[in-house]
């Protein structure tokens, strides 16, 4: 889901960057209010987790690859605004050091993976877990479902961003200037592979780590302080 440089027009990148600026500003304000000093080491581990889990490319035999993002877990444990910051740092460093995701598309990639994904995951988790006890199976199920929903909706947004390009930006004779695939191809491809495979990977890793933390008796965002 890391949109590289060149797939989105400079105008699209500008719009996505402009959308992210107030989100980042609000995220810092929200984190200032909600995150405690003692949670900061967990935020750093959350960002590290997001980065390293994205290195686990899962193959579709003979096809493409994809991976989990880890943003759902951070959102559930430390809140969606904290997750927005942790995943943003991971995405920016991926683009700068490793060329994974473009420099110009940082706004779009952060919108999909550091904003849409954690927020959808968090609210689906909240909705399903409701007031169930911190150690309940229902919370594990809620976390997995939230993670699955979050990454699939994020993939839908990425598909729309890709798919709008040939529609909006083409030469006089109809040749695409940026991403050559329209909504009819980009959206089913992005959403389909996440619904079928990569969504389950995000759900599985999120549920697994939450289960581990339940056993440790500490869901730091949930059960109070770590």
């Amino acid at each position: 889901m890391h949109i590289p440089d060149g797939y989105l027009s400079p105008a699209s990148c500008g719009v996505m960057g402009a959308v992210m600026i107030p989100i980042w500003t609000f995220a810092s304000k929200a984190v200032r209010k909600t995150l405690s000093v003692r949670q900061v080491p967990f935020l750093a581990i959350g960002a590290a987790f997001s980065f390293v889990i994205m290195m686990f490319n899962v193959p579709i035999p003979g096809g493409s690859t994809g991976h989990a993002v880890g943003g759902a877990l951070v959102a559930i444990l430390l809140g969606p605004w904290a997750a927005c910051i942790a995943v943003t740092v991971a995405l920016v460093i991926q683009a700068l050091l490793f060329g994974d995701g473009g420099i110009t598309s940082i706004g779009a990639n952060c919108f999909n993976m550091a904003f849409v994904l954690p927020f959808v995951s968090y609210y689906v988790y909240k909705l399903i877990s409701s007031d169930s006890p911190a150690g309940s199976k229902r919370r594990i199920f809620a976390a997995g479902t939230g993670a699955y929903a979050g990454i699939c909706v994020a993939a839908l947004f990425a598909g729309i961003e890709f798919g709008l390009q040939p529609l909006l930006f083409h030469t006089a004779d109809g040749q695409a200037l940026y991403c050559p695939y329209g909504l009819n191809i980009a959206v089913p491809a992005m959403v389909g592979e996440h619904l079928l495979i990569f969504g389950w990977v995000e759900a599985f890793v999120t549920a697994l780590v939450l289960k581990f933390l339940q056993k440790q008796g500490s869901l730091f965002g949930e059960g109070g302080q770590p």
Partner: protein, 111 residues
């Protein structure tokens, strides 16, 4: 062990296992992620390279492209796995350090 210690141990295990993210796609002949093709792949797939894409894609040269060292593209999986682990360690050092500093700055004044 403290909880942070256990979690860092988990991150360490993920770093050690990370080359699986390289080896499995290679084994199952899986290509790039959707929408993350190089210009040569686009040329093959759609018969042309979009003009704007060509220009913008050359904008940034990352120091460790694709979690490898420059010029290592044709090395074997063993070398690439080593580079992958080094990339994971370097990336995590920078990312967790930076996130820690941002977190500290934002929570300054608490407690």
């Amino acid at each position: 062990m403290t909880l942070t210690g256990k979690l860092w141990a988990g991150i360490g295990a993920l770093i050690a296992l990370s080359p699986l993210g390289l080896i499995l796609p290679d084994h199952f002949k899986a290509g790039s992620a959707w929408g993350e093709w190089g210009t040569d792949e686009i040329q093959k797939m759609s018969g042309y390279v979009p003009q704007g894409l060509q220009k913008v894609s050359e904008l940034w040269k990352a120091p460790m492209p694709d979690y490898a060292f420059q010029g290592w593209e044709s090395r074997g999986l063993v070398h690439l796995s080593l580079a992958y682990v080094i990339s994971a360690v370097a990336g995590i050092a920078v990312i967790s350090g930076l996130t820690y500093i941002i977190g500290k700055k934002l929570t300054r004044g608490d407690e």
